[in-house]
């Protein structure tokens, strides 16, 4: 049986040369993403904004959105957003946080339930009060920061600081671009999004670490090879693995995206963007070439990592 070979053996792409294009592109994209965040904003979901979210299924085959809108608008709960969700009979009702603290949110749920009555099945009801939402947001942001810091320390410990810094820059780049993606698509930004961001962080680093591992090994073996050439060789040698692994992760993600249903759709979409599109690109075109600028040490001292004894 002839086996599938996506990447031919012994590729010799000049990835380092490409940095003259990839760095400016990434810089521009990152600035765009940051701009989007500040001027277009994220679509904060109920977790961080508080308020009311209900998924209801009408008992008729098609939900009558306009009647529902009229009914709910008459309740005096401020702006009511209705959205078809999944199928024609499913409707997502969103109501902004009510003024008057936690008790007011509960009163609003009762009003909506009273107004819609038995005409619908309540598939999901989420009510997040003002205090919980602000806590969840700060947890999310702190968590993201903690994860980055933890990984930085680990890499610093395992590699040299240049590697840790390079991975970190690549990392922040991933997160910034993914946030840009969330801003453009206006996907709900909630706790699940934080989970997606953290996973993207983990995977992208996973990839970067594999390449860095190879670079470190090459640095030990070929003490005289010019840096750009060495980095190129490392990326080329691991290219087949990078591609194959990404195909498998993409297959798994596609299954989630296509068959996982509405509940994890935004999670799967964000992951697909972050892992498949950004993560791979970052490891090859940002994380590796950036080491040229960070001046990875080639002294014997700097190269005796914990693995040096075993490499022969």
């Amino acid at each position: 049986m002839r086996l599938l070979r996506i990447v031919p053996d012994d590729t010799k792409f000049d990835f380092m040369q490409f940095r003259r294009i990839s760095f400016p592109i990434s810089a521009v994209l990152s600035i765009l993403a940051i701009g989007l965040y500040f001027f277009h904003g994220l679509n904060f979901g109920i977790d961080f904004k508080g308020g009311l979210l209900m998924e209801v299924q009408s008992k008729t085959p098609t939900a009558d959105l306009s009647t529902m809108r009229t009914t709910l608008s008459g309740l005096g709960l401020g702006e009511v957003q209705l959205q078809q969700f999944g199928g024609p009979s499913n409707v997502l009702v969103r109501i902004a946080e009510q003024p008057g603290g936690d008790a007011a949110q509960q009163a609003a749920v009762q009003k909506v339930r009273g107004a819609l009555g038995d005409s619908v099945e309540y598939r999901r009801v989420e009510v997040v009060g003002p205090r919980v939402s602000s806590e969840l947001l700060s947890y999310g942001v702190v968590g993201l920061g903690l994860a980055i810091l933890g990984i930085l320390i680990y890499l610093w410990f395992r590699f040299e600081w240049q590697f840790a810094l390079g991975a970190m820059i690549a990392n922040v780049h991933d997160i910034v671009l993914t946030i840009g993606f969330m801003s453009i698509t206006q996907i709900d930004f909630d706790l699940t999004s934080i989970a997606a961001l953290l996973t993207i962080l983990g995977y992208s680093l996973n990839d970067t670490v594999v390449i860095y591992d190879r670079i470190r090994e090459m640095l030990r073996r070929y003490k005289k090879m010019p840096m750009a050439e060495l980095l190129n060789a490392s990326v080329n040698q691991t290219l087949s693995r990078s591609v194959i692994t990404h195909v498998t992760v993409t297959l798994a993600l596609l299954a989630l995206l296509l068959f996982g249903g509405q509940a994890i759709h935004s999670f799967a979409a964000t992951m697909t963007f972050g892992v498949v599109l950004v993560g791979t690109y970052t490891s090859i075109f940002i994380a590796a070439p950036i080491l040229i600028y960070l001046g990875v040490g080639r002294g014997t001292d700097a190269l005796t990592g914990p693995e040096s004894g075993k490499s022969k």
Binding site: R123, R124, G129, G202, L205, T245, T248, A255, G261, A263
Partner: protein, 533 residues
Amino acid sequence: MLYFTRWKAAGIVLTALVVCLFAVPNFFPEATVNSWPKWAQRHLVLGLDLQGGSHILLEVDTNAVRKDKLETTRDDVRRVLRDARVGYTGLVVRGNSVEVRLRDEAASATALTKLRELAVPLGGILGGSGQMSLNVTTEAGNLIRLTVGDAAILDRVRQSVEQSIQIIERRVNELGTVEPLIQRQGTDRILVQVPGLQDPTRLKELLGKTAKLDFRMVDIGTPVEQALQGRAPPEDDLLYSSTAPKTPYLIEKRVLVSGAELTDAQPGFDQRTSEPIVSFRFNTAGSRKFAQATQENVGKPFAIVLDNEVISAPVIREPILGGSGQISGSFTVQSANDLSILLRAGALPAPLTIIEERTVGPGLGADSIAKGKMSSYVGAGLVIVFMLATYGIFGLFANIAVAINVAMIFGVLSLLNATLTLPGIAGVVLTVGIAVDSNVLIYERIREEVRAGRSPINAIDAGFSRALATILDSNITTFIAAAVLFYIGTGPVRGFAVTLGIGIITTVFTAFTVTRLIVATWVRWRRPQHVPI
């Protein structure tokens, strides 16, 4: 790397097998599993997002606790000074303290000693922090200030949470649901998770009521109109009836008997009007107080007050000596039933506010399970086919390793009685995607070593030993992310972190042992002349 002692090989197979076996109870119905020995009963718990149910986060109202503590302190001061026969001119609650102005400065030493006895060490006698519940100071001779510190409030809040949990347990158990979870969260919060509820409205009603029941006299000496104009006597409260139209009543602050002295409450029907009622019985002390109060007040109305609303205000026709009675007050069968549940369970020490609610109906839960299964099968199928196409026989090895990996994830999850959520299923699917990465790393390395001119066995050996360090490094970074996610996340997100984290551990384990053992066995068996990857 390819040599295993017999013991080591047996150890690996045994470990993997045992861990996988823990997943077995999940495939049998609950009733069957319950007849098995205890240690074999551990199984996965479906999250609320999959089986449907309500997640409700309650918070103790710290301000109410503070207010209550200050008012009790004020009443204590009044009692202590009266008993010690110390005269005072002003007694007020101001900010976080109670201030009392003595009439005679000479008495301040006596008053101070007596009032200091009110202060108790916080946290009980054992393990106290050395702080006192009250800080008694004197100022300008005849002004004494009793300050309730934040530590004292915190202590009170903590106690309230503990008591509330027991009361909530009693209330929720009356709903007859399976396995409700009630636990403290932080210092002032209580998490209630009740699976399988279609409509949480009733649950919320049972949780949201303080259920503080008092029997008090109606003040008939003062017209209600006067109170409505804002001139209620200081010893009375202006309260309204619980049902529409809201009728105002002037109710004495003094409590005849409180709900704490009830021993039982049951719903029933009035024999004459066949209206729903709640009948109750007092304990001995309560019976005596109630008998005395009704004897002294025949012909006058008294009020049954629940959470500052008047349920009913009947006129006492004759003394009630038996220690039991009934409340009627335009109940429905349901509300009579609920009130008796609340009265039996007891009053909450402080009001609770619902600050977060997430309810999933059973329909959505079932849909999510179906979708989770579907995407898992499709994801696994695609990956299996791709690996076979790319690596042939080694792809088969990888698939076997991944299958064992997934079985082990479920084994560990069952062992921990962990909760499986929809994002958790996504975590498993993603683990399948990256679990093969460890195999890809090894195989690609073997390919390279073959190209570098090594003999097959040498290449396989070197491939393993070099790839394993990389596998460890790359998985630890993802594990750090999963650990952080576990720490900050709640509910479904935490479920994702759990499966992702366990998935990483089992992935590293299978890469280091199972995959290696499979390949080593194959090498010994086939003695390959070339590596078919």
